[in-house]
Structures are given as structure tokens and as C-alpha cells.
Symmetry: C2
Subunit: 126 residues, 2 copies
DNA sequence: TTAAATGTATTACAGATGTAATCTATAGGT
DNA sequence: ACCTATAGATTACATCTGTAATACATTTAA
């Protein structure tokens, strides 16, 4: 399993949004949120390539980077391991925490209801 | 915010289960799951005390350790920051991932339905 | 054609973390 | 009253991470 650090994740998220991007484009995209030196971003790109999380094509002397792992796969694996570690594998208590803190909005609830409906539908299928 | 590392978390979880415990009792409790040297566990206890995550009372030359932060508070904060980082703050997509992977069981769904019912109830009382 | 600019690669360095070993003080046995 | 076993404190050390600076190569402007 490829380990992606917090800072590296921000870089991945830029490239999951739009790809491929040159290093400078990544720097620019991060500029809004992060106050990182250009050199820092280049280091992160480099480490992500070493780890096998990013690939690149050459465009003259510059590289165009793109993700080698899908955001959804990453999200699934991270969710699984987080819920395992913190909630002994059960997701409901996590949602309960959000509910208790009024962190659920109508959209969330709507989506959860739909998920439940789908799940129950699935149970009936033979 | 106190940062608790992965290894340290396992120690906290033992003490959230039962408290207070001597270092040796913690070592014993961890013995089932982890293959850690006694010295390693002592180091983790020490770091957790330094970080303010554990306190202790003296019992002769030994210490009896107990958590200074509540498991529920820790879970809430970790959930919040995880969902923020990975899912832009919305919890429903996380649950959707579990659903897609058939990681929801009837209990989970039952609890989610209850949460939703409570939430909707709450919306009504002005 | 040569020098400057710019892109990537390499090196840097402090703090956190995993994983202990060693040091020091003292409770308890003889 | 001592000695020894043991508990906690301190030190160790490699790797990962955040955060760059410097080195090196090569495109391109003059």
C-alpha cells in the first residue's frame, strides 16, 4: 500500500481535479490554499513519483504529472483503515458523532436515506 | 490539539477500556494484539504523559495511568478532520463507499435509520 | 554560440514516530 | 543495613515528513 502523507495528499488532490499538469500548474493551483514555496511543491511531486503515486510524461524539459492511483480507491482504503482504527470497523458510530454535533445537513440525510434504500433493495434480490 | 500517533493510540485504547492501569498491565493487555517489547510500551506511555494525553497516580514506585482525554472527544475530532481532509467535509460519500463495498451490515443500517429518524425529529421542534 | 533562466535531481535539516537499550533511583527481600 | 530487581527517565537511532536550498542539465534568448 502506497503511503501518502498529508502534504502530499494536497498535491494528489490537485491532480485528481485536473490532469495532467506541469509542476508550475500544480504550484499555481495550490497557491490558493497553501502557502508553500515552489521548491516544496516540487519536492512533494518528486516524492509522489518515487512512491509510485504519480507518473509523468515529458513535455520538453518539463514534466506533465498525472495520478497513478484513483481518488476513489484511495478514499475507500483510507476510510476502511480509519474506521477500523478508530471505530473498530463500524461506520454507524462515526455518523452518529456527526449527527450529535449537528454536522449533518439535509443533503447528507437525503443521500444516506438513498443509500439505505439501495442497500435494502439489494438485500431482497434473491 | 494533542497529536496521538498510531502506536500511541493503541495504548490509549487499552486505557479507555480499563483504567487506571500500571505499565505492566498495559503491556499485558497489548500482548494479545501487538508484538511490542515492554520497553516500547513504556516509551509510548511516557510520550503520552508528556503530550498530556495520560495522567498517573503513584502506587509505590509504579505509576497507575489513566486517560486525560475522552475517547469520544478524540473520535469526534479525528472523524471531523478525516472527513474534512478526504471527503471535503461531507460524511455521506464515506458511507457510500462502505455501502458499495458491502461493508454495511443490518446493524449498521438499523443504527443509521435511527440516526436519520432522530435528525428529522430534531428538525421539527422549531 | 554563449550565457541566463528554468526544470528536475539531489541534498539538508529539524521534528515526529517506531522501536528499543541503557541509566538511575529506590522498594523490598535477606 | 545492604543488595538486587525493577520502575520510570533518558538516550538512541533509522525512517518519514514538512519545508526548503543547492546542484546540475538543457532550452532558449541575445
Amino acid at each position: 500500500m502506497i503511503e501518502i502523507s498529508n502534504a502530499e495528499l494536497s498535491v494528489m488532490q490537485v491532480l485528481w481535479q485536473r490532469q495532467p499538469l506541469s509542476a508550475n500548474e500544480v504550484v499555481a493551483a495550490l497557491g490558493n490554499d497553501k502557502d508553500w514555496h515552489e521548491k516544496t511543491v516540487k519536492t512533494l511531486l518528486n516524492r509522489l513519483v518515487s512512491k509510485g503515486a504519480l507518473g509523468f510524461d515529458k513535455d520538453g524539459r518539463a514534466y506533465l504529472y498525472y495520478p497513478l492511483i484513483a481518488e476513489q480507491d484511495y478514499q475507500l482504503e483510507q476510510s476502511r483503515s480509519f474506521v477500523e482504527r478508530i471505530f473498530a470497523g463500524r461506520v454507524a458510530p462515526l455518523v452518529a458523532g456527526f449527527a450529535r454535533q449537528n454536522k449533518l445537513n439535509a443533503d447528507d440525510v437525503q443521500q444516506l436515506k438513498q443509500l439505505i434504500a439501495d442497500w435494502e433493495q439489494e438485500q431482497h434480490h434473491d
